[in-house]
Symmetry: C2
Subunit: 205 residues, 2 copies
């Protein structure tokens, strides 16, 4: 396995396989096939076999994949066999929603701090967190060694905050603002964009 | 063009092309190439050409694609050359965030109503909307002819609400609850799952 050579498009499909396999495990299943997994995720069995085989021989002809073994391997490959500390920037509706979100548990992430530049919000509690001032964000992220941030500020503020995150050593940004971010090539950005998801369905209406 | 024969995986990439092309247009660009578009979206130029050619000959050898023409065509294919009315179910943090979200404008969608089963929330205003009771949701959606809903209720309530949405004639559900929904095969579901997006980046850390 040579990590440098795996195409991004394959990496982007692995979390989808991971989620589907986790659901199968939650439902008590022990083994699965590329056909069955393919039906769950809407990707062809051949593509799934090809994607997974990039990382080794995890299945057996005729008997398929052990779900728990494949889960372990995918978590290891994606580096979510550990817990990553995550910062939230923006203590608005979306920041609140993320702090309260139940879907990070057992997926490899935990929110550890939340920032806002609104002096009215700084110092207020959201769940167990106290909203901190973005003026102190770079220093705080650096000293805590945070590598992952979720950005929920208004579109007009997003690039400025992203620049600060990069300065603080953040390497992965999940961006909820409806704007494209410019970051150095060693920083990853993923976009959460409900319109794109909706547009994937209107085709069929 | 035979709509029945286009694989889902191709359809799922079209909104990503649409978003990137819209950004190029916003930046004043008039034409682009599959190479340039590919660099923006992280998909190979060959794949992009193949995807787009499923629907006709939209580009010219040597001169590339007219951005405005390709935008029009993609909007037509994805049926977002019109405005779809969308209902939000769940008036919590995420419901508020969606009502205030600026990213639906010009993308083919507008929120027209919001529901919650919490009597404390029913009747309250969120932006220009009054939160309505989910008890009246099926009737309201039917009479308004709503085909698209965004689901932001807790995981434990999500399947029950999805059943009601299906009963009301909704054909496309954007699900924010961290749970898999069972719906008839003629109903589409898309999942917004921040953990999956985060896992697409940890691989590179």
């Amino acid at each position: 396995m040579n990590a440098e050579k795996i195409p991004d498009i394959i990496i982007s499909r692995l979390p989808v396989y991971l989620r589907a396999l986790q659901r199968m495990a939650d439902n008590g299943l022990k083994t699965t096939s590329s056909q069955e997994l393919g039906e769950h995720v809407g990707i062809s069995a051949a593509q799934i076999r090809k994607d997974i085989s990039q990382f080794g021989e995890f299945g057996k002809q005729g008997t398929g994949y052990s779900i728990s073994y494949l889960l372990d391997k995918l978590r290891e490959i994606l580096k979510v066999d550990r817990i990553w500390d995550v910062a939230v920037v923006g203590a608005g509706d979306m920041g609140h929603a993320l702090v309260h979100y139940q879907g990070f548990a057992n997926r490899g992430f935990r929110i550890v701090m939340i920032f806002d530049n609104d002096k009215e919000k700084v110092g207020k509690k959201i769940s167990q967190f106290t909203v901190e001032d973005t003026d102190k964000m770079v220093e705080r992220l650096k000293s805590a060694g945070i590598k992952i941030a979720m950005l929920t500020v208004p579109a007009t503020a997003a690039q400025g905050v992203a620049d600060k995150l990069v300065q603080a050593g953040v390497k992965a940004i999940l961006n909820y603002a409806p704007i494209s971010l410019n970051v150095p090539s060693n920083v990853k950005v993923q976009y959460i964009d409900p319109s794109t998801h909706l547009q994937r369905m209107t085709y069929y209406l």
